[in-house]
Symmetry: C2
Subunit: 206 residues, 2 copies
DNA sequence: AACAGCTTGTGAAAACATTCACAAAATAAA
DNA sequence: TTTATTTTGTGAATGTTTTCACAAGCTGTT
């Protein structure tokens, strides 16, 4: 299969979101142009993005909202549910844990780990925060698909090495550090400092 | 001035971080190749990125760590301090508020707003959570440079319209929605669902 | 059945970003 | 001083992504 760019995948996520809104609004067809306007892109871009995966539209008409919704969910792997573990039960960890949108889209947090004895044992929803030492075995036993890393930067690489060794192949990292992972592991970083610095640059350059 | 790409700016942020580490480690020169390896890029890329802004290195030697540190801070606008307001004193808002890295890099949260009467009036550090109704005037009075939007998606566009009208020209958005802003306003989105969906796509495509 | 009005799907062109490759400059050693 | 070694800065080459532009296909109308 042809290599799909990261920007295409990001845009598919956005299209999916608009389709959901359109669907909630009772709309049943949508054109590439409408999709584009909502996403701040062009209709040609929308069509090109979709064309990597097939032809889902009807000329003269546009796309069937429920049909395209289903197709993009399929493409992105969202028709199944994913088992997620959260490492680091701190401030950002707890915000993420209670974030309903994740559940809603099929990302289910099934385990939470921390090293802090004052946090281990705490009840979080229907889970218990477990000791970090149990992580390696638990990831395998529970068949965890993805790990969210929300530990301090100094601890992050160590955690990730163990996570990778345990066979997990997708990681979402919140620590402000460039993690090293084998190329077989998918890694995304959420780096808020980089975003703020980008804004700073924009402010002084106009 | 030539247009600088967003990827270049992102990488500058990363270089800055490595330079800080190098500086803390007592290193006083660094080569484009060392910088590249830490950032998962190539030495040519590092040199090209820097070349948009000047020549900071010495052939045969590399870059002076403190000098390049200062230069990149200057380029990114980090030699001054920025006044930031936080809108939405919820779970993610409170995590962000207590995030020390922001302060450390010159982003100072100077005001927090919320609509919820049970939150308004609460003491957050040396600030008081203020009523959302006071926001428009306060942004101007305090000379706020940037706003962090951490309100529910439904409320985000409304908040942003007011923020823009109040003259703020940089926004960091956490709500899972595509905000519309005039092109004179810099906008960055932190969209965790998009990242998770990217991981999902990666998992089913190898 | 033919025509008018739209919108898709897609090669080709244009714009943009990364990598290559090497002359130029700096240092240190002979 | 000359030579060997290192690493920058940068045009040119290559690779990637976006935009353009239009034939092909679908619907509804006459
Ligand atoms: N708070 C924010 O808004 C924010 C924003 C952006 C990035 N981050 C980053 O996210 C990470 C967490 O930030 P936070 O504010 O939640 O910090 P925090 O101190 O509140 O939480 C970190 C948690 O990780 C736990 N921990 C430490 N080592 C561990 C290990 N080896 N295994 C498991 N758990 C371990 C700690 O006990 C603590 O509970 C940091 O890297 C931070 O830079 C935070
Ligand atoms: N919690 C997370 O981990 C997380 C992760 C990613 C994105 N987000 C997004 O961040 C936003 C906030 O999420 P949260 O979990 O903190 O929700 P939350 O409900 O805890 O907080 C939202 C806060 O915004 C306030 N608010 C509502 N309308 C407002 C207005 N017009 N002006 C000012 N304040 C207003 C509410 O009173 C509440 O205190 C949401 O858009 C959410 O989708 C949250």
């Amino acid at each position: 299969m042809k290599k799909i760019s990261e920007s295409t995948v990001r845009r598919l996520s956005l299209y999916l979101r608009f389709l959901q809104e359109a669907s909630d609004g009772g709309l049943d067809t949508i054109s590439s142009d409408e999709l584009a306007q909502r996403g701040g892109t062009t209709s040609a871009q929308v069509r090109k993005d979709l064309s990597f995966f097939g032809s889902f539209g009807k000329r003269g008409l546009g796309y069937s909202v429920p049909e395209l919704l289903r197709q993009i969910q399929e493409i992105l792997g969202l028709s199944r549910s994913w088992k997620v573990a959260l490492v680091g039960a701190g401030k950002i960890g707890s915000a993420l844990f209670s974030y309903r949108d994740f559940q809603l889209r099929g990302f289910h947090i099934r385990a939470v780990f921390d090293t802090d004895p004052t946090k281990v044992g705490a009840a979080w929803g229907d889970l218990t925060v477990r000791d970090d030492g149990e992580m390696d075995a638990a990831l395998r036993e529970q068949g965890i698909d993805m790990v969210i890393v929300a530990v301090p930067a100094e601890a992050a690489q160590g955690v990730v090495d163990r996570v990778v060794k345990a066979g997990v192949r997708a990681i979402l990292n919140f620590a402000p550090i460039r993690l090293r992972v084998p190329s077989s592991v998918a890694l995304r970083n959420v780096d808020m400092t980089v975003e703020l610095e980008g804004l700073s640059f924009a402010l002084i350059n106009r």
